[in-house]
């Protein structure tokens, strides 16, 4: 079954992918990119204003519990320009970002860019593995449910999806943690490693061991949306004339689904999966918090709770880039890979 998907994907890409109009794609991407840069500036300014509005005091975070004289506080304030008007602050900040300088994280005491890259790699592994697992599993379940419509299997899959869609992510994570690491004791509960420990300090095996539960949680949650979508889409395809004709010709079972169902449902499903990057990130934030997985989400929460403004802003920028990449890939697939739409233009 797995091979069929891969061969179908390859077939779709080869049937068109290599002969795509390169100029058109480049133009499309350039257009998207310019729009994104403007959007990003807007997002940065917006988040800057929001954080500036808040009652948090970065100086307090920086000096933490140390004893400092008022003179030193004043020196820090003028060094960081805390008392300057917001317009000046934003212009300074944007200027630094353009030069690739995101500032220093106050809680990790390291350049923001290093912290983010370090954390993002850990999160990407988590998000990518659960993205692939939930995508494949969700698609398969959706196809089964759609094909076996109104049977017991379909209802089972459907109710599973409905329930998981309504379940708070962090609660499912708590339940998974409770079952697998506390009762069964198969995995570390993740609470042993203090917040802020770097991922290099853990061995590969330990790290893999800590990855399994969060990835599992994110996967079983991510299945719901894609399965329900695939099911509806397949049911829609199954009621179309060509499908009925194929049935009338005597095609049945797996070959019918493979040749007429999956072929038409796969691309929209993949597109949807790419569009889910934003939710994936949100899920990762919660799951990482529960399992204390040292990823970007956990860093975002610590940064927010302990008023590490530079780190929080840096994470906002990177998460926006992450979502943008997902949306753009979805658009490219939708507009350029689908042979029907491609021939249209």
């Amino acid at each position: 079954m797995y091979f069929v998907f891969i061969s179908l994907i390859i077939e779709i890409i080869f049937s068109g992918g290599l002969f795509l109009n390169k100029n058109k794609i480049l133009l499309f991407l350039a257009n998207r990119f310019v729009r994104f840069i403007i959007l990003l500036i807007f997002v940065i300014v917006l988040s800057f204003i929001l954080i500036d509005m808040s009652p948090i005091d970065p100086i307090k975070t920086y000096i933490a519990n140390k004893v400092v004289s008022p003179d030193q506080v004043a020196a820090l304030q003028s060094y960081w320009g805390v008392n300057e008007p917001i317009t000046v602050k934003i212009v300074n900040w944007l200027g630094n970002i353009v030069q690739g300088n995101l500032g220093n994280s106050l809680i990790f005491r390291a350049p923001v860019i290093d912290v983010i890259l370090d954390r993002f790699v850990a999160s990407l592994v988590l998000m990518f593995s659960s993205w692939v697992i939930s995508g494949v599993l969700g698609f398969v379940l959706g196809i089964i449910a759609g094909f076996k419509r109104d049977t017991f299997v379909d209802k089972l899959i459907k109710y599973y999806c409905y329930i998981l869609q309504s379940a708070p992510t962090f609660w499912i994570a708590l339940i998974v943690l409770m079952i697998f690491s506390i009762y069964l004791g198969w995995f570390p509960s993740g609470l042993g490693v203090p917040i802020g420990s770097l991922s290099q300090n853990v061995t590969f095996f330990e790290w893999l061991n800590r990855l399994i539960l969060p990835a599992f949680t994110l996967s079983i949650l991510g299945v719901a949306q894609i399965a329900l979508y695939t099911r509806d889409k397949l049911i829609g395809e199954m009621s179309k004339d060509y499908f009925l004709f194929a049935k009338a010709r005597g095609e049945t079972g797996w070959s019918l689904i493979k040749r007429h169902g999956i072929r038409n449902v796969l691309l929209p499903a993949i597109t949807l999966q790419f569009l889910s990057f934003s939710e994936l990130f949100g899920g990762a934030v919660l799951v990482e918090q529960v399992f204390t997985y040292p990823g970007i989400g956990q860093a975002a929460v610590s940064a927010g709770l302990r008023s590490d403004v530079p780190l929080l802003l840096g994470i906002v920028i990177f998460s926006a880039i992450f979502v943008f990449v997902g949306n753009t890939l979805a658009d490219v697939i939708y507009n350029f890979v689908d042979p029907r739409l491609r021939e249209g233009d």
């Binding site: 204003i49 954080i51 309504s166 379940a167 708070p168 962090f170 708590l174 529960v290 709770l305 926006a320």
Partner: protein, 280 residues
């Protein structure tokens, strides 16, 4: 509908929807009344019955201070529902305002779709955290934060709907007769989209509750003194290792049921109002 349609037991969509609405409203009212009656300072702390597993006396068990978890959960759900309701109504108001603004002229239309793009470009949870921090947290901060992140889908739906309405002859005629855009919005667009708005508000509600609980769980929402579901669950994390499973299981399950009920009601009303399958 084929969901529970058996041969013996056939309910049509209308009956089923009315039934689910009835049940949901009942649950809703019970929770609200209960949570208003329970004074959060008055939840008894009884150190002789700490950490008791569920029993008939305390069906959700008790926590490390001997407080009855069922009462705390009810109170927490009440808080969640209030915040969720506030946030989803506010969200719809934002959505309707922006959708109507977008119908005025093409510059406003571009501006509105631009704002939608901005709000969709950052993951929801991060945006909620940012707004919540910006407003200094608390119930007010969370409500506003959730409201400002959930209006995008409804705005898109309404915007598409309004575009379609505007191509109709009677709307064009009103324009030719010199009626203002605002008049057209009030007299033509609003009456035709009111069902969409109501359904949209109901469908925002479960998401709003869930996001409120998530953000509170992370520590950006309600203050730790409130018995919100997010607070209860984040407290329970400290006691999981000692085997107090009931502290996490039941409050989360209660939240799940509320979210599920509202999701089903919203979806069913949507189907009912959609003429293509209303008579199933």
């Amino acid at each position: 509908m084929v969901d529970i349609a058996d041969n013996k037991f056939k309910l049509n969509l209308r009956t089923k929807t009315l039934l689910t609405i009835g049940i949901t409203v009942l649950v809703f009212v019970i929770i609200i009344i209960n949570s208003l009656l329970i004074d959060s300072n008055n939840i008894l702390t009884n150190f002789s019955i700490i950490n008791q597993p569920p029993s008939f006396e305390h069906i959700f068990g008790t926590d490390w201070m001997g407080r009855d978890m069922f009462v705390r959960t009810l109170k927490g759900l009440g808080l969640s529902i209030q915040i969720g309701a506030g946030a989803s109504i506010l969200s719809s108001i934002i959505a309707v305002t922006l959708a109507i603004l977008s119908s005025f002229n093409k510059y406003l239309d571009t501006a509105v779709s631009w704002i939608v793009d901005v709000f969709l470009s950052v993951p929801h949870i991060l945006l909620i955290i940012l707004i919540s921090i910006g407003l200094g947290g608390g119930a007010f901060g969370v409500t506003i934060a959730v409201a400002f992140t959930h209006w995008t889908s409804l705005t898109r739906v309404l915007r598409a709907e309004i575009k379609q309405i505007q191509t109709q002859d009677f709307v064009k005629l009103s324009g030719k007769l010199g009626k203002s855009k605002w008049w057209i919005a009030r007299k033509h667009i609003l009456p035709l989209t009111i069902t969409q708005i109501i359904v949209g508000t109901i469908l925002i509600f479960p998401h709003a509750i869930m996001h409120e609980a998530s953000v509170t769980f992370l520590g950006f929402g309600l203050s730790p003194h409130e018995p919100a579901i997010g607070i209860i669950l984040s407290e329970s994390m400290r006691y999981l290792a000692t085997g107090n499973w009931w502290l996490a299981l039941f409050p989360g399950l209660a939240l799940l049921i509320i979210v599920l009920l509202f999701d089903i009601v919203g979806e069913n009303i949507k189907k009912l109002l959609d003429p293509t399958n209303a008579n199933e």
